[in-house]
Symmetry: C2
């Protein structure tokens, strides 16, 4: 498969060219992204810095505090933060439910969504390494099987639609032998939907799930709708920042229901977005192949 290129110009065969091209494009993409984010966030950062300096100054003046003492106190607070303690600390984080949430975020590699304090005990750290290794692999398999299931369902739907159409057009579904053969031999094979079809459907599914989840978050957590959408994306894509964290308050109405619904939203969301990433990556690969063809690698002539 990679032979033709390899024969005429050594290590730069087509596959390698695609790989290197992707690497370069990603670096370019990162640079552009860095420029945009730097432009967007830098002013805000300055502002926040000034505001904090002011507040620090005011507080230390008001109570006539020793500044280095106050700083030390804040460092202690940071330390406590690391262990998951806040001023408004709410519920124990390492009870079974908390730990369950924690391992869920580990295995899905979302991690910081629940802002669990990361592991403190050294045994816990060692355990986490081995635990995560199997867990993450199992989760990847789960996502892959999920995508496969989705594709099968789509194939089934496509086939059913086609059959319904055929029946409507008056072609009898009973032309026995051929149909039986079809059913046996390639029941769903040949009905695999195209990449674009899968992408479209996953996109729609992801948007629907995100919108529903956002509606829930914005009403229960009291976030803005856009903020909730951002939270959904960050959680579902397993990026998982810690700036917004769901179900952190001490008490919600119908807490158990909220937690379960939250869990299912995140599960469905992660599955959809993971599958979407995979499908988009196939499309990107096609674009790369097309680009390579257009560029006509010099070693080909």
């Amino acid at each position: 498969m990679a032979c033709r290129g390899a024969c005429c110009c050594g290590p730069v065969n087509e596959d390698n060219a695609r790989f290197i091209m992707l690497l370069l494009l990603i670096i370019l993409y990162l640079m552009c992204g860095a420029a945009v984010f730097s432009a967007l966030e830098h002013p805000k950062e300055k502002q926040a810095k000034e505001k904090w300096a002011q507040r620090f100054e005011l507080f230390s003046q008001k109570y006539n505090l020793n500044k280095s003492d106050l700083e030390k106190f804040l460092r202690h607070y940071e330390e406590a933060n690391m262990a998951g303690i806040r001023v408004d600390t709410l519920r124990p984080r390492w009870d079974f439910t908390g730990a369950f949430y924690f391992v869920g975020t580990v295995v899905s590699t979302i991690a910081r969504v629940s802002t669990r304090p990361a592991v403190y005990v050294i045994d816990g750290k060692i355990f986490l390494i081995f635990y995560g290794l199997i867990g993450c692999a199992a989760t990847i398999l789960f996502f892959n099987l999920f995508l496969e299931r989705i594709i099968t369902v789509l194939a089934f739907v496509l086939k059913s639609c086609h059959e319904v159409q055929r029946r409507r057009k008056g072609v009898l579904p009973h032309d026995s032998r051929q149909d039986a053969r079809l059913n046996r031999e390639d029941s769903l094979a040949g009905w695999k939907p195209s990449v674009y079809c899968v992408m479209l459907i996953l996109c729609v599914a992801a948007i629907i799930i995100s919108c529903c989840a956002s509606a829930m978050y914005s009403s229960i957590e009291g976030w803005g709708y856009l903020d909730s959408l951002y939270f959904c994306f960050v959680a579902f894509s397993t990026i998982g920042f810690g700036d917004m964290v769901s179900s952190q308050r001490a008490s919600y109405e119908n807490q158990t229901i909220y937690r379960i619904v939250n869990f299912f939203f995140i599960l469905m969301g992660v599955c959809c977005i993971y599958s979407l990433f995979n499908v988009i990556s196939i499309v990107i690969k096609q674009v790369l192949n097309w680009l390579l063809k257009k560029l006509e690698i010099p070693c080909r002539h």
Copy 2:
């Protein structure tokens, strides 16, 4: 492929059985993990809580502070933390280098490794959603192509070894026609290494990279070696907690070199661990298939 099962017992065909079984096993796995982590971390959490309560008490007594005022001050500090400001704040986080690091962690879905403050501006949030969608997909493709490249290299090595052996055994490499055909037709096909071989090699590579990176971190960041290993795993697996963060100090010797080496370690590590996850997931799938065979799904008889 899924036909035989589907014909005799509806929706519970082999593929679906595998999927559901995996889901149940993952839930069981999560429960076990939750139990272990809860047991390990719960005492430590209590301890940290008491320590912090004591410190808070002491500080407020020492300066005769109004407690609710101090709490308000700490809440302000948390807010500043969110914007990436610490007592020992060091370098701007949203300059170009910082933003580059940020988008790198977004696209790789590591996220919290660099403890960038998450995005504050609402435009930034919207941009992040679309930016991440393409970026994450491109990165997944990159990882997949990386695994493909690794397998090709292994196939090449296996083939070369075999040829060397053949030559040693006295089989002349010049039995022209057959060799030429081999070279053309299946150059590397048929030399694909087994899953276990790839897993072993990726495992060894991951361990070597982690050990080297840990040696660097423990010397430069001043972490313990085990802590560094834990950091490596958390970063490379894209779990990415915020409890340990590399290159956060104001100045290191040879800062630029450190950053570049750091970047390459993380890139190589993520590639290896991602590939390892994928390969382990294949092994898990084989185990599931074996289990399914053992269980002899009732609908098969």
